[in-house]
């Protein structure tokens, strides 16, 4: 377990190195990775060369030399890896679209020559077949033919022939099919799930290659129970119109949905072929498919028939009529597909039929809802108008569908109605849908309308309006929102402060600060701090400087209550001035009230790790009474945990260790534990503490935990870490010593990354 984690840590470190190395490193675990990476870069450079007679000749010679040397898959040799890399690079070089065809053909032929040599392993031949698959032409079909009878090479040869296609490849496949007598497609033990006969494989390839000349032969397999289905598939892939009858008959005779699905897929493939060559036949087939008792076949037929209609507007109108037919009403899959197809047809003309459908009162309610949702996603003017109307529909489900799906344009159009439903609907989901739709408008007019509604709304409505204005970032309505930040109702005040956080800027600063200083409610003060922090983020540097100075002045002049209110804010803001003020006027000031000193320390601890060293410097001078020093030490623990680097962890710990007796045992343990979470930086920060009698024990324990396998952190540099660990060893108790010693003694410990 420890060794495994050691290796894992090593690999993680390696991965980090690899990611940052910037070099073409190939594979982190392969011992050949550096070599192959270099070869890969060399090949990439070489492959940029423009083709010349001489260079082409060189590459062809390489094929002749390297091809016969190919080893079987699984040899694992570096040389073979390089060989394959080079050959596939050569293939791709000749595969470039700007390569003159004669040279490409020569390369493919050369692969063919090598393939024809009888002394290669099946996997080597498969590799060569793959090169031919990528750049081969009709000239290579003869050599591929020779591989079709061998079960160990037939698969690879078929794949190549499928890609090459054309009459020569088809003839080879046909001849092979005629010859095959039920031999197994793959050697025993290597592919048990393969088709039972090579004939099926060849049939599949004939279809994939589009071999029209094989149609007569394929039709002959109609009575063969094993080969009927692949033959049917091939005929459909080729586009033979007679295959339609075969498919429809198989569809009705199919015993289960898997078989029906397979036939439907074949029918769809056939119809797509016919669409190009014989559109009338395609239309006829599409209609027949729609009479099937099998739902997906009807759906496919409907899509096909729609696809034959060229005009988008007419197609959309056809879809709208089709969805109203009885079989569609009973088939939600048909609905979904027809609506999706309609949604894809752009333009006002295409939307008209659907907008009319939505308007008609006798359209079934469910269909109206689905149509509303579909139109809501469109952007044309007809759809926008229809959806805006739908947002005020009497049917709440239609309203909801429209609101949930509508885009910004429709939402602007429906603004008044949306606002009405957002405020008045009894149904919370509808209100939410309406508010969400309003948020898509970004319309200042709607924001203003919402703001005007604040005064005459009830509490629930007002809270939702404030939430909307905030989420919408309606900066122009900040004044209206600010009226509520000190509302007697706490929920209202919080909603208003949250909104100001989202839309406020410098103009709202003083108002919110006033609330922070004057409102006695703790939740309101906390929210005010959040709001001021949010506003701070949008202030420019000049305003930030001005506000920092103002806050520091106020803090210095405030009474205890005011200063306590300001303390959380001063720590929170990203301002050296306010944080220094907090440190000096808050934590360190001898005459400051204890509560303020504690609050100041807490604020720094939560927010300002960069103040850690400065706070540590003062630790000895802080009183223990009242918990001031304790609060400061708690703050330091938080800072180190949050960001050891920004907290200058090593320096901070050094300062604390130097203040002899200033840090109690509990805080010492917490501080060194915080260092323990900081990886190598933490380890190095703990090392000097081993020489400090007060700190040595705790530091040693944490060091041991860090270096032992089960607590190993990524990035620990082995040699240095072990050196520190050896230093800590004598300071541990017996049990811990033994555990650490075991880790130090384990094989691989001390290995450099």
């Amino acid at each position: 377990m420890k060794k495994g984690l050691f290796i894992l840590g090593l690999c993680c470190s390696l991965a980090v190195l690899l990611l940052t190395a910037g070099s073409a490193v190939f594979a982190e675990e392969s011992p050949d990775s550096a070599f192959l990476g270099q070869l890969g870069d060399e090949m990439a450079g070489a492959m940029k060369q423009s083709p010349t007679e001489a260079y082409v000749g060189e590459l062809l010679e390489k094929i002749r030399r390297l091809g016969p040397q190919l080893e079987p898959d699984g040899s694992g040799s570096k040389e073979d890896a390089a060989r394959r890399l080079e050959l596939s690079a050569i293939t791709d070089y000749f595969g470039r679209p700007d390569m003159p065809a004669p040279w490409r053909e020569q390369a493919a032929s050369t692969y063919g020559e090598v393939l024809a040599q009888g002394n290669l392993s099946p996997s080597a031949r498969a590799f060569l077949c793959e090169q031919i698959r990528r750049i081969g032409t009709a000239r290579e079909t003869a050599v591929l033919a020779g591989l079709l009878e061998d079960p160990q090479t037939a698969e690879a040869a078929c794949m190549a022939l499928e890609s090459i296609g054309g009459p020569e490849a088809c003839q080879v496949l046909l001849d092979a099919l005629n010859k095959a007598e039920g031999a197994p497609a793959h050697p025993e033990g290597s592919s048990p799930s393969a088709v039972k006969s090579i004939r099926a494989r060849l049939i599949l390839s004939l279809g994939a290659a589009g071999c029209a000349d094989s149609v007569a032969l394929l039709k002959g397999y109609g009575n063969d129970p094993e080969l009927r289905a692949p033959a049917r598939g091939a005929l459909c892939a080729i586009g033979d119109p007679d295959a339609a009858a075969w498919c429809l008959s198989d569809l009705e005779a199919a015993g289960d949905d898997a078989a029906r699905a397979a036939v439907t897929a074949d029918l769809t493939r056939l119809a797509e072929r016919l669409r190009i060559s014989q559109p009338d036949q395609a239309a006829e087939l599409a209609r027949k498919m729609q009479s099937s008792s099998y739902g997906p076949c009807r759906v496919a037929g409907a899509l096909l028939e729609a696809g034959l209609i060229e005009s988008g507007e007419k197609r959309s109108a056809w879809l709208a009529r089709r969805i109203q037919q009885p079989d569609a009403a009973d088939d939600p899959a048909m609905w979904g597909v027809l609506l999706a197809a309609a949604g894809d047809i752009p333009g006002d003309g295409a939307a008209k039929a659907w907008a009319d459908l939505l308007k008609r009162k006798n359209t079934p309610a469910g269909l109206r809802r689905a149509v509303a949702a579909m139109l809501a996603r469109r952007g044309d003017e007809t759809s926008v108008k229809a959806v805006a109307r739908a947002a005020a529909d009497k049917d709440p489900e239609v309203r909801a569908a429209a609101m949930e799906c509508m885009n910004g344009k429709a939402a602007v159009r429906a603004g008044k109605s949306l606002l009405k439903h957002a405020l008045q609907s009894e149904e919370s989901r509808e209100r939410r849908a309406a508010w969400d739709a309003l948020l898509r408008t970004g319309d200042p007019e709607i924001h203003a309308m919402a703001a005007r509604s604040l005064a005459r709304s009830n509490d629930r409505q007002r809270a939702e309006l404030l939430g909307f204005l905030g989420n919408a970032g309606a900066a122009a309505q900040a004044g209206a929102v600010m009226e509520y930040i000190s509302a007697p109702d706490e929920t209202m005040a919080l909603a208003a402060l949250k909104a100001v956080a989202q839309l406020g800027d410098n103009g709202q600063w003083d108002g919110v600060l006033g609330t922070l200083l004057q409102d006695a409610r703790e939740p309101i003060r906390r929210a005010a701090v959040d709001t001021l922090s949010a506003i701070w983020n949008v202030l420019d540097d000049t305003r930030r400087r001005a506000r920092s100075r103002d806050l520091a002045r106020r803090f210095g002049e405030a009474d205890e209550t005011g200063a306590l209110a300001l303390a959380p804010l001063l720590g929170r803001l990203d301002s050296a001035e306010t944080r220094t003020c907090l440190l000096e006027q808050g934590v360190s000031r001898q005459d400051a009230p204890v509560s303020l000193r504690v609050a100041a320390a807490e604020s720094l601890g939560r927010n300002a790790p960069e103040c850690a060293a400065a706070l540590a410097e003062r630790i000895g001078a802080l009183p223990v009474e009242g918990g001031v020093r304790g609060a400061a030490l708690d703050a330091l623990v938080s800072m180190l945990r949050a960001d050891f680097g920004r907290a200058q962890g090593a320096k901070t710990l050094g300062l604390l260790a130097g203040a002899a007796g200033a840090v109690d045992e509990e805080h010492r343990a917490a501080l060194v534990k915080a260092a323990g979470g900081a990886g190598m930086a933490g380890l190095e920060a703990l090392e000097p503490l081993l020489d400090n009698p007060e700190w040595a024990g705790a530091a040693a324990q944490v060091i041991a935990d860090m270096v032992r396998g089960d607590n190993r952190r990524p990035g620990i540099r082995e040699a240095k870490a072990l050196e520190i660990a050896r230093k800590a060893l004598p300071l541990l108790d017996a049990g811990a010593q033994a555990a650490l010693q075991e880790a130090l003694n384990s094989p691989g410990a001390g290995a450099a990354p």
Binding site: A27, S75, D257, A340, A373
Partner: protein, 426 residues
């Protein structure tokens, strides 16, 4: 697979869905209408099966909103570990087709290696199941096309297992995607835009998912059906580095770190740039030559759209200090730091983006397409597959987003539809 049982279940499920679709655009049929107060009618509950429970799939077992009734894995040990963590009565099998034949499974979660995603998703759609699929959606562009067709033809709800376009902090960027979208849609950055995805902008391409070239044949462990694990991939002798996590390093099954993480990083970019219905027209690459079997590293990939928008993928660290998004008028850095014409700006009052359906199991009930479905998922997966194709071929490519081909580039086109080992076919 029993025809009677499937037919009956499909009819009752269909009846339920018809009722749901008719009754509600956004709510399910109320409990009291189905079985009285306090009674959870079985048809309300969505059931799922998870295919592939060795790594990522274990996480799928606990996704809220549905009940796991079956698990499937070609590794008997993984299967048993999953079953041990689930209530008694959960079914286990080693062939995904058995899962698809279970009439009481509504949704199939696919958490196998990517070379299986297309096949299983298509079969699941054809079996009437809704689908929750791990990324990358498919290993090749061709499989993606077939998957889209099948999902559409069978009216299924499909979701991809990446979500950053609608929720969660966007890796190391420093915020969620929504405010970035608001800024882009506001137009302050101008157009076209360049997006940089790399270490400097908060994204790590995990090059430790590289393959090894020194694999020697090892005996197949008895618990693993290696032939089935390979499935449509070419037969290569077994080595543990080919399977279970490290499969990511092999082109036959995945695409290295780009394949593993690419769709997480690039799907939100596609969304930000409003490119859900299209693809780049050019891909440029700077990489060492790749081994034909083992995925390696690359230095830079540029995906360029017809309107001039670009996505730069940084594999070597050049993105440090660069803006995440740069336009002619402004730049957006990590943590939403926005500069317009050189000045730091805080934008307020921006409209929220168009709504997205983000509750998959609710989409199963309402039949509305999920936010990241088979169509926009295909497009963001195509970004990944274009990058992988360019890296593997070692050169730049031109692509047609309408025909989904590489014009005049036969070799690249032969990467779109890659043959499968029989009997597997899409």
């Amino acid at each position: 697979m029993s025809n009677g049982r499937i037919g009956e279940r499909l009819r009752s499920r269909r009846e339920f869905l018809r009722t749901v679709a008719a009754a509600s655009a956004f709510t399910i049929v109320p409990r009291h209408a189905l079985g009285g107060p306090g009674y959870t009618a079985p048809s309300e509950e969505i059931t799922r099966a998870v295919v592939g429970v060795g790594g990522m799939g274990r996480g799928h077992l606990g996704y809220a909103g549905a009940r796991t009734v079956a698990v499937c894995d070609v590794d008997a040990q993984h299967l048993q570990q999953a079953l041990d963590s689930l209530p008694a009565g959960t079914r286990g099998c080693r062939d995904f087709r058995e899962v698809l034949a279970m009439p009481d499974v509504d949704v199939v979660h696919i958490a196998t290696p990517p070379h299986w995603h297309g096949l299983i998703a298509i079969a699941a759609a054809e079996a009437g199941k809704d689908i929750w699929c791990e990324k990358p959606m498919t290993r090749t562009i061709g499989e993606g096309i077939r998957l889209m067709e099948a999902v559409r033809r069978h009216g299924r709800i499909f979701r991809l297992n990446t979500w950053f376009r609608f929720k969660d902090n966007f890796y190391g960027y420093g915020s969620t995607v929504e405010p970035i979208k608001q800024i882009v849609d506001s137009g302050v950055l101008g157009w076209p835009l360049r997006v940089v995805v790399g270490q400097g902008t908060g994204f790590d391409f995990k090059f430790y998912w590289s393959g090894r070239t020194d694999l020697t044949e090892q005996p197949v462990p008895p618990e693993l059906d290696y032939d089935f694990w390979l499935g449509p991939a070419p037969y290569k002798p077994y080595h543990p580095h080919r399977v279970h996590q490290t499969f990511r390093g092999y082109w036959d099954y995945d695409g290295g770190g780009l394949g593993d993480m690419g769709q997480h990083y690039l799907d939100p970019v596609q969304y930000l740039l409003n490119k859900d219905a299209t693809s780049p027209v050019e891909v440029e690459v700077d990489a060492p030559r790749q081994h034909p079997d083992a995925a390696g590293t690359w230095r830079k990939i540029i995906l360029r759209y017809a309107d001039g928008c670009e996505i730069w993928l940084d594999g070597e660290g050049f993105s440090n200090g660069m803006p995440y998004i740069k336009g002619p008028e402004g730049e957006l850095y990590r943590n939403l730091e926005l500069y317009v014409k050189g000045k730091r700006v805080h934008l307020r009052g921006l409209p929220k983006p168009a709504p997205q359906e983000t509750d998959f199991y609710q989409c199963v009930r309402t039949r509305r397409p999920f936010a990241l479905n088979e169509r926009n998922g295909f497009r963001s997966c195509t970004l990944v597959n274009l990058g992988i194709t360019a890296v593997r071929l070692g050169r730049s490519l031109r692509f047609d987003p309408e025909t989904l081909t590489f014009p005049g580039d036969e070799e690249a086109n032969r990467m779109i539809w890659q043959p499968m080992r029989s009997p597997w076919r899409v």
